[in-house]
Symmetry: C2
Subunit: 242 residues, 2 copies
Amino acid sequence: MDNDLNLNQHISHRYNEELEGLRNKVMKMGGMVEKQISRGMKALLSSDTELAEVVSSSDYEINALEVEIDEACMQILARRQPTASDLRLIVTIFKTITDLERIGDEAEKLGRYSILLADENTTPGHYVELRHLGEHVKRMLRDSLDAFARLDADAAMRTIQDDELVNEEFDAISRQLITRMMEDPREIKNALRISWCARALERMGDHTKNICEYLVFLVHGKDIRHTSLEKMQESMGIDLGD
Amino acid sequence: MDNDLNLNQHISHRYNEELEGLRNKVMKMGGMVEKQISRGMKALLSSDTELAEVVSSSDYEINALEVEIDEACMQILARRQPTASDLRLIVTIFKTITDLERIGDEAEKLGRYSILLADENTTPGHYVELRHLGEHVKRMLRDSLDAFARLDADAAMRTIQDDELVNEEFDAISRQLITRMMEDPREIKNALRISWCARALERMGDHTKNICEYLVFLVHGKDIRHTSLEKMQESMGIDLGD
């Protein structure tokens, strides 16, 4: 892998284990968030209110893990006083878990809206357009977690690009929903709820993009937030393909 | 002030200055974000497209300051290896500026939606209900920045409570807008845009609440995220009044 990271190469065996343990915990948290999205989408698309209840009430595990990782990072900062790439790893983890937790919050909303939609006896077919968006966002998160596990900044950059497609899909769904509302005003309430689900998915894409930006910072030591994709490619010589 | 903080008491004069400088930069960033909200609301309520253009294109200053503060925090972590309350201050700042930046993003949206609404020749009176919500959110942010300046955890806790009122106002506006859409389907598009503005304001409230939670952590060394208000009062003996 072509990067300037030199993690887990400490003379202290214990310190290596601590950093490795931290990264594993982030992966575990990511896996829990992925599961929440999957369950949220399933509850929504199959009008499964029982599953929706589970989704809308089980974010406490994710939250607890966030607090646990935060504390572990603080401990390492205080006791090990990391520098260079180790310090970047800790800062990256602080930021990454905040976004992971917020993706979990958005997934929880899918559960809540599923319950409201199921109450109205809507036919799930009406919001099948969300399926594609949900799959897309899930793939983005999967890719970003893989990139984190392999410290692969190039893969992270490709996932950042993906977010533009998610935004385009979101816009298309919004336009469809407006048309449907105008054609049948009795559909307004449900169409709005579907649009909130679409918005929740779109925000998950934003948070995933943030995570990928932190990862590029971790690997290259360069802050790419608020930078256009073209400029990033230029300054880092990264080839994103076409 | 009743807290266990002992900031800026270092023998190194230079280190004191660095920490003080960091806090000042956060206050400066907060002030810039406040200004963006004010301008966004003004553009919206007075259909001022010129001001709306300014709002929707001037977040780069806030973003640049975020990156600058982030780098300064990294520098201090690497060179000063802070512990205890100094370390908590740095971590709090990392998190706070992320939320401040996202409040700035939401304010930028106010600018963008103002332009769309002005294009449709809607009468600004139609979304006067947003004025109250906007004032409320601005006051919350003002209070949270004051609390940060004075390291006042009690004030932060009161501001956390305020967010519940913001959410209630948001729900009331949403219900009004649904009614308006059902009564006059030609109003759907604009009502949706107004609801997006309301959502942006509601999210600013959420981010402000996050900032206050970090501040309580900074002052008391206790993580209160994902904890109910009652539990917080109990465990910290804080009196929120009625």
